[in-house]
């Protein structure tokens, strides 16, 4: 699926914030911040990334369904669902 028209700005804003958090992690390491605080911050970045991933996945699956509707299906949507499930598997194994 291409063209994240509606949510594109939102994704970009969230990714810029995540980029800022990763730079924050570098400053924490540089300043010898307490290890556990760094771990907490890493967990927060991971959560933010997973949230972006879930948004993208939601759009993708929704697109499969919308696209499939009203057509005499050929195999394309099935392939897209295959790919989506493989992506979920990779995220679960992170």
């Amino acid at each position: 699926m291409r063209g994240y028209s509606i949510a594109k700005d939102d994704y970009q804003a969230r990714l810029r914030r995540i980029e800022g958090q990763v730079r924050g992690l570098q400053r924490m390491i540089d300043a010898d911040a307490y290890c556990i605080d760094v771990l907490t911050q890493i967990a927060s970045v991971n959560r933010a990334l997973q949230s972006v991933a879930l948004g993208l996945l939601d759009e993708h699956v929704r697109h499969c369904v919308t696209h499939a509707r009203g057509r005499d299906g050929h195999a394309e949507e099935t392939d897209m669902v295959d790919e989506a499930m493989q992506a979920v598997a990779r995220l679960l194994r992170t």
Copy 2:
């Protein structure tokens, strides 16, 4: 989605194996097995459960797509995708 016709026996076989693994965990605790071995076994059970979950999710999304195809869509499939994404979110946060 109801009626896991094709894969039902497979799911049952895998869940019976998982049940056996959980009983194995009880025996390990009972026998004061080495803690790290118990943790390894727990990770294995979790992996087996995630694998069942991914199989079910795959069927569910595939069903949404198939069901949507050739109909003038009303909102039902959209709700099903909503639910599927919430289920993925719960699995990711396990």
Copy 3:
């Protein structure tokens, strides 16, 4: 580490409950329960297993520190392991 003296009964009770949940999953599949409800239940079993794992890990690391400390320890290491384990818990829930 061997001999989970204090928590052993607690672990066994939790594992028996988990075993019951896995049997419940088999009944759900057998009764063609709604897929999303099965996924929710799987997420719940995974969480229960992770909780047992974290308990065991906590005991293990605590044992490392206590054992290493000899006779002249003060409480600081115990707090540090606490924090480490809470961090692991957050990462696991990412």
Copy 4:
């Protein structure tokens, strides 16, 4: 624990790489990259962050044990923490 003397440069290098990956994600969104490719890249960033987290956690727990041990330690605790950390890694990859 403060002062990640040995591994500090390594952590910084890895975090800079992760920062670059997050900027790459922004470019992918900007260029309307295929959603599944973005998800794959997110899974990769998460894995890289988890790896940093596990490194920090390992140092932390090791420090607990070393600090507790005083002068008369032998190597057993170190092995136990090794194992504990490997178990956490497996659980995180569930």
